[in-house]
Symmetry: C3
Subunit: 356 residues, 3 copies
């Protein structure tokens, strides 16, 4: 069951050009595009004439034109032109979806359009601060449900096993024994981890060669249903990291993780890296992105295999362990949202019985 009445990332803003982009979100096949005025549109990817996917079409004056028989639709889903026909029937329309372009993202609302409130969208100002936080982004297709990907980000002990050669480092002990503080929040949860006086992992050292023994932190905020904002870094021992993390001379990165369900068992993983060091060197931005890309490919492989195994065997006989605390809280938050949607659905269904 999807949580529909929430904002999800549909695309990176720079993915939307005039060429139509097909993407399935919450089980619905959509086509995303930017019209000639620069506005972004999200339509059902199915022409109302013969069911042809609109992704075969092209952007023309007035909207998106079907590539089969030429019908044109505007961003609201209304058919505005049928070749060879003056009168356009009222039922000639396709479903459209509310979109908001903000901080480099295009957010989409898949639920009841009347409930879409743009002010509820989280802020991520770092994408707009190129001087302090130069960044690079992409999207991965994951053959696993979005919850398993969020699970992955709620338990950092996996760095010791999955990412030994990149962002983890080979000393499992420091990850497993990190100080971990989880704080539930109205919108999800926050956690902060400290690994004091340890060796920096390979990725950190490549980025900032002057690192020696470091105090290292991982700070995560999960904003339900599927955004994770991360700030990780390290300062050399003695620089007072625990008092002030926001100082130059160390390693510091911000990662944004947005998991948008494609189907029940697959998702789109939108992520960006911001490097808080060597900001004037484009190759530092590039190098960090490449290291993280390699690490996330490792996550993708293992989580996809996990999904396949759970598909085959179900979720019985699983045992929670101590390091699952943040994950368990995150899952509770999602269950609460699902229950709310069910309640709304039941109410809507009652209304339907009354009035239709």
């Amino acid at each position: 069951m999807f949580i529909r009445n929430n904002w999800y990332i549909a695309a990176w803003a720079d993915e939307l050009v005039q060429a139509p982009l097909p993407r399935t979100i919450l089980g619905e096949a959509l086509v995303l595009y930017r019209d000639k005025s620069g506005a972004v549109g999200a339509l059902e990817d199915r022409c109302c004439h013969r069911g042809t996917p609109l992704r075969f079409g092209e952007v023309v004056d007035g909207g998106l034109q079907c590539g089969y028989h030429g019908l044109v639709f505007d961003c609201a889903g209304s058919c505005v032109s049928i070749p060879g026909q003056a009168k356009i029937p009222a039922k000639a329309r396709v479903r459209s979806y509310p979109l908001v372009e903000k901080d480099g993202f295009v957010w989409i609302w898949m639920g009841d359009a009347g409930e879409a409130d743009a002010s509820a969208i989280l802020d991520y100002p770092f994408h707009n601060d190129r001087a302090k936080w130069p960044h690079k982004h992409t999207v991965y297709h994951i053959d696993a449900g979005y919850k398993l990907m969020i699970d992955n980000l709620m338990d950092m002990t996996h760095l010791a096993y999955v990412h030994k050669s990149t962002i983890g480092g080979s000393n499992a002990k420091i990850h497993v024994e990190a100080q971990m503080k989880v704080t539930p929040k109205e919108t999800g949860l926050h956690y902060l981890r400290w690994m004091l006086a340890c060796e920096p992992p390979p990725t950190y050292r490549k980025a900032v060669p002057q690192l020696q023994q470091v105090d290292r932190w991982q700070e995560f905020e999960f904003i339900a249903p599927s955004s994770i904002v991360q700030w990780s870094g390290a300062l050399n021992v003695g620089m007072g990291a625990q008092q002030n993390r926001d100082q130059p001379g160390g390693f510091s990165l911000r990662l944004f993780h947005g998991l948008t369900p494609e189907t029940e068992n697959s998702c789109h993983y939108f992520w960006s890296t911001c490097n808080g060091y060597r900001q004037d060197e484009p190759e530092a931005t590039e190098q960090l992105f490449n290291e993280i890309a390699a690490a996330f490919s490792e996550d993708k492989a293992i989580v996809q295999a996990q999904q396949a195994m759970l598909d085959a065997t179900g979720e019985d006989r699983l045992v929670d362990i101590v390091s699952d605390s943040a994950r368990i809280h995150m899952r509770r938050t999602l269950h609460r949202l699902q229950d709310q949607e069910r309640a709304i659905g039941a109410e809507a269904s009652d209304h339907a019985t009354d009035h239709r």
Copy 2:
């Protein structure tokens, strides 16, 4: 539901050589071959011994030999040899299907063999008239039901969108505003379209360089359940095309389209091109075939995507438009044939209850 009591194209005659050719038709896995006497055979692709596909076999004296343990079957499906065994049990046989070789096609009857009447097969003499209509042919595998492919051929306005750079040309207006006359017939329907005083599309101009402003026609006959005979062409304005299309100096082609269901959602598209110009130049025949092949690949891509979308979303909420007139008549003809088969099936079922 398939319409079984009709002739379909099983293969091009020149596809059938002594090597067995596997092909699924109306949901049944067949093996087609030519025996040593030159006769063509269509058998169930499943040996009656252990179920091995006969496509692994080879043509030997007496028929088609299974490639596993050597049983031989004749064109009627009777086993005529079992290695190491003198007596052949009566039940050692596979199903066979009536075939007729005509005009370069091999036609097959998939229904009640007692109803197979070769005189009902359409004539296509152009394949035998190499002097006036040199030709070339092939077969495309289409991951879409045969009805969607016939739909495609019943609405020529798609040329303006799907085939801009080949047989359509970039001026949508002339296709959409063509004069269109549809004539229902006992066997299906006929339509004739005229586009007067227009630019010839790229394919026409490449074929016949002397074309200028032309009067252009498209004449189609749909013969149920799945043959379409097409004659299209253009003569320079002033040559009196509307009075007499059959004159030299212009562009003229004949296309044959045969759509044979493979499964409910896939088909074999047998098509040929005949060039009615530059008949002495094999490169003209080749060039026309290549242009049409490229255009039909465009159709294949869009119709396959349409089928996938309809599979996922059903056929609800579709809106007919003015240019659908021929398509709608064609669909009615097919529904009538399906209803007839259902009635016969019900009757046969009654008889079975009485006599078996």
Copy 3:
């Protein structure tokens, strides 16, 4: 339905190194490995923490470590370490399976572990006799049920059709008219075939150039549920092959065939070749293996196609022939074992009702 209470080959002993090897057997996803002490282990390929396949893990001191969050399991399936956690819950375990390493094979017991009796495993001493029977082995993945592969080995007439150019030879008559003697046994069946005074097939002649007209034999023993031990060879006419096959100067090979069900419709085909000639020439061992590998690829192709056809059309309307005698006896043996398991299952189910 699988026959569970029997030994099957899980792997070649030399496949099991410290890197975990995933393999599905009798429908269960397993991971096989060799621990640091050299012992072999077979565990359910699913960590009890989050369901991640253990194949992503690595062998560490104490056992196999999950590659996601670092839990360690010993060969008995008990979790012996959870990172960051002192107490290990009793239910933190995965299923393990009895294994026996013998004659180059690793045998596995997929049924009731209390019934596993290592003394019931067949002997294959030839793998240990490098001087007289140098050998080479591999495993093929077959997209067909194990019974169809055993069928293949119970009817040697297929050599005339499937393996003309390798181990069969082009003279079908000698295979079809071979003397064939089938002897039922408690554990399965034995058969011996003689083809007297015939041409040796290409594989034999390549191996032993001095062969002329030969007396040729094929001796098979089927040991239920899925092992076949084969000794085939040829001696020149006049050497008295029928009195004494075990003499130098001819062609002689031993093949071991072990078919382990993967799923109902796929299996692992473990096979080895031993050459009983030119034992001092490694290239003779290599050449024989390569010839047999090519022949078995031919079997794989035809049996996979047979399985696909039977999946689509069922097993009705099949006709037994004379050369099916050994195959029919083999199938009866398997049905008898299946019936026994059903009876045991029913009994166990009664007990469960009583005592649980």
